[in-house]
């Protein structure tokens, strides 16, 4: 099939015609090209992307697993310090996944819509607006996966205290794409629906509450003494991602039932895909 497609392309190129014959092929070609464009931009930005992704996890690992145990701070210190590093691992991977997925989609989109108009050329790509919106999610999901992969060794091997690591491959292989996709869909929603003048508030009004109430530094179950908070944080998708990565990576750490994690993340994925794609359409069509 591939050979036939290539031959077809060659024939078209030779004829000077650029148009794939079927709309399905045109859509796929445009989708691939848009994705390639976004990954090329990531490649250009690597010198910013890497420190941006790694800085916070490295700092947190250093403070929580090296400094705190030595200065006698409660968190991360005392007898169960190994357990703390282990639960932190899932949290840090989840945090990198959600923030890179969210920001790498939302920030450029918001800028391109409001100030620079540079999305124009991609919006005019010969495919449906839905495809272009989905491509944004796909590109964001790949970048958040990349962020998770580079943070994993930092969170797994850098801590000064032992980590009880055990991969549950099936859980890991399903939670990871689900978390990456959901993060990028949230990014598409924010990038298309948040008023651009409010974007500077993203860090304080979205990132901070997501992070602090995202079960990164504690398990969801540990919130038991504060029941209202325990149930309130369930609106935070990061809680399920942190718990999901813990379920997939560690042993000896309590996490919520995997079925609940799948159900919640899938629901968030559907909700934010709907909000993001319709938000995108609203911005580009009138």
């Amino acid at each position: 099939m591939t050979t036939t497609a290539d031959e077809e392309d060659e024939r078209q190129d030779a004829a000077g015609a650029m148009f794939p014959p079927s709309s399905r092929r045109a859509t796929w070609a445009a989708f691939r090209a848009l994705l390639l464009r976004d990954l090329t931009v990531l490649d250009h930005d690597l010198a910013e992307f890497l420190p941006n992704t790694l800085m916070q996890p490295v700092m947190l690992v250093f403070i929580f697993t090296f400094v705190f145990p030595r200065i006698g701070q409660g968190i991360g210190g005392s007898g169960n310090s190994g357990r703390f590093s282990t639960l932190l691992l899932g949290g840090l991977v989840a945090q990198s996944v959600i923030f890179q997925g969210l920001f790498r989609v939302a920030l450029p989109l918001s800028r391109e819509f409001d100030i620079t108009n540079e999305l124009e050329d991609r919006v005019l790509a010969p495919t449906s607006i839905n495809t272009i919106a989905f491509e944004k999610i796909a590109a964001g999901a790949l970048q958040s996966l990349f962020a998770g992969l580079i943070v994993f060794p930092v969170a797994a091997f850098l801590p000064a205290t032992p980590i009880y690591l055990q991969a549950h491959w099936l859980v890991l292989a399903t939670i990871t794409p689900l978390a990456c996709y959901t993060s990028a869909a949230i990014g598409l929603t924010i990038g298309t629906r948040l008023e651009p003048r409010l974007v500077p508030l993203l860090a304080s009004f979205i990132a901070l509450p997501l992070g602090f109430f995202g079960a990164i530094f504690y398990t969801w179950d540990a919130l038991q003494p504060i029941p209202w908070l325990k149930y309130l944080v369930l609106i935070n998708p990061l809680v399920y991602m942190s718990e999901g990565f813990r379920a997939g990576l560690s042993i000896g750490v309590v996490h919520m039932p995997v079925s609940v994690i799948y159900l919640a993340l899938s629901s968030f994925a559907v909700l934010f895909t709907y909000l993001g794609v319709t938000g995108f359409k609203k911005r580009v069509l009138s």
Binding site: D6, D9, E10, D13, G16, A17, M18, F19, P20, S23, R25, A26, T27, A29, A30, R32, A33, L34, L36, R37, T40, V41, H44, D45, P108, T116, N117, E118, E120, D121, R122, V123, L124, A125, P126, T127, S128, I129, T131, V284, L285, S286
Partner: protein, 319 residues
């Protein structure tokens, strides 16, 4: 180039767009484009002229799939832009008034990726990119970040990008706005070459002299309707013909006045009078002047596309 089924690359029928503004009691419906019937023939440069808010941008928006019409139909290269927007986009190239280049990519990548969006293979996109950079005199900047380009270079790159996939129609929205004279000349040279190769172009502009010089036909639109549609020469002629009676009457009255004032006229028997408008009446004016023994020093016909435009759309400020 694909062969569209009709010789009209753009054809609209009763194309209408109404917007709702405000809410509750303040809600109002604005008709931006009102039953537009427009045909743009293959290979022509068609100018869409109108004051701000006349409906030009909305019309172009509908033709380029970005604005959904309230009613009516619009076909580009035989494809219904509402029913098949993804397919219609294959036949459209757009140069916006503002810089819409992809700032995250280099000059070369802007063209290359554009080709890939349109389904070109990597090899074909590379070749076409190199060819266009050469032709648009941008090859020395191919690794530059687009934000470092001058206004003229950025606009040339946008035109190169818009024609890269060989669209059936090229939309140029105020292509020379805010360009220096040299860049403006360079851009019109490029547009002229594209036109000579048979590229259909729909142009919106405020520069009447440019529309006059480069457009095969122009439509003057206001309040979403076409007020006049013809070649610039025919529009000017029509305007001249329309004014003829009044102006020639005035002139004849003035001639008569001169005649009556015979002997008290200008020194040495020579008179200078400027006639606004009325190229068509000139012959009559000259003969009547001769008949009346008036020597004409200076006689000018002043009909321009701009005067036609102002006559049709009025002098009121629109914003």
């Amino acid at each position: 180039m694909p062969s569209p089924p009709s010789e009209d690359v753009i054809a609209t029928e009763g194309l209408t767009k109404r917007y709702r503004t405000g809410s509750g009691r303040q809600e109002a419906v604005i008709t931006a484009v009102d039953g537009l019937d427009l045909k743009v023939h293959r290979g022509e440069i068609f100018g869409l002229l109108g004051p701000n808010g006349a409906g030009k941008t909305t019309t172009v928006g509908m033709l380029t799939t970005r604005v959904i019409p309230t009613s009516g139909r619009a076909m580009v290269a035989g494809v219904d832009v509402v029913a098949q927007p993804a397919r219609a986009k294959q036949f459209i190239g757009v140069v916006h008034q503002v810089n819409t280049l992809d700032r995250s990519l280099t000059v070369w990548e802007n063209l290359y990726f554009h080709g890939r969006y349109y389904g070109m293979t990597a090899k074909a996109a590379r070749l076409r990119t190199d060819e266009l950079l050469e032709r648009f005199r941008l090859s020395h900047r191919y690794t530059s970040q687009v934000r470092t380009l001058s206004g003229g270079m950025a606009r040339r790159l946008m035109v190169a990008r818009a024609v890269l996939h060989r669209p059936a129609v090229l939309f140029l929205d105020e292509p020379t706005a805010s360009l220096d004279p040299q860049s403006r000349i360079a851009l019109w040279e490029i547009v002229g070459e594209l036109h000579a190769e048979g590229q259909t172009i729909l142009l919106t502009t405020h520069y009447m002299e440019e529309a006059d010089e480069f457009c095969d036909r122009v439509a003057i639109i206001d309040h979403g309707r076409i007020l006049a549609l013809d070649s610039p020469a025919a529009l000017k002629h029509a305007a001249a013909a329309g004014k003829e009676t009044g102006n020639s009457k005035a002139w004849l009255a003035q001639l008569r006045a001169l005649e009556r004032a015979n002997g008290t006229g200008p020194v040495n028997g020579t008179s200078s009078l400027e006639v606004p408008g009325v190229e068509a009446a000139l012959l009559e004016v000259i003969t009547s002047a001769q008949r009346n023994g008036v020597t004409l020093d200076e006689l000018r016909g002043q009909v321009t596309l701009e005067s036609v435009f102002i006559e049709l759309t009025g002098r009121d400020l629109r914003e």
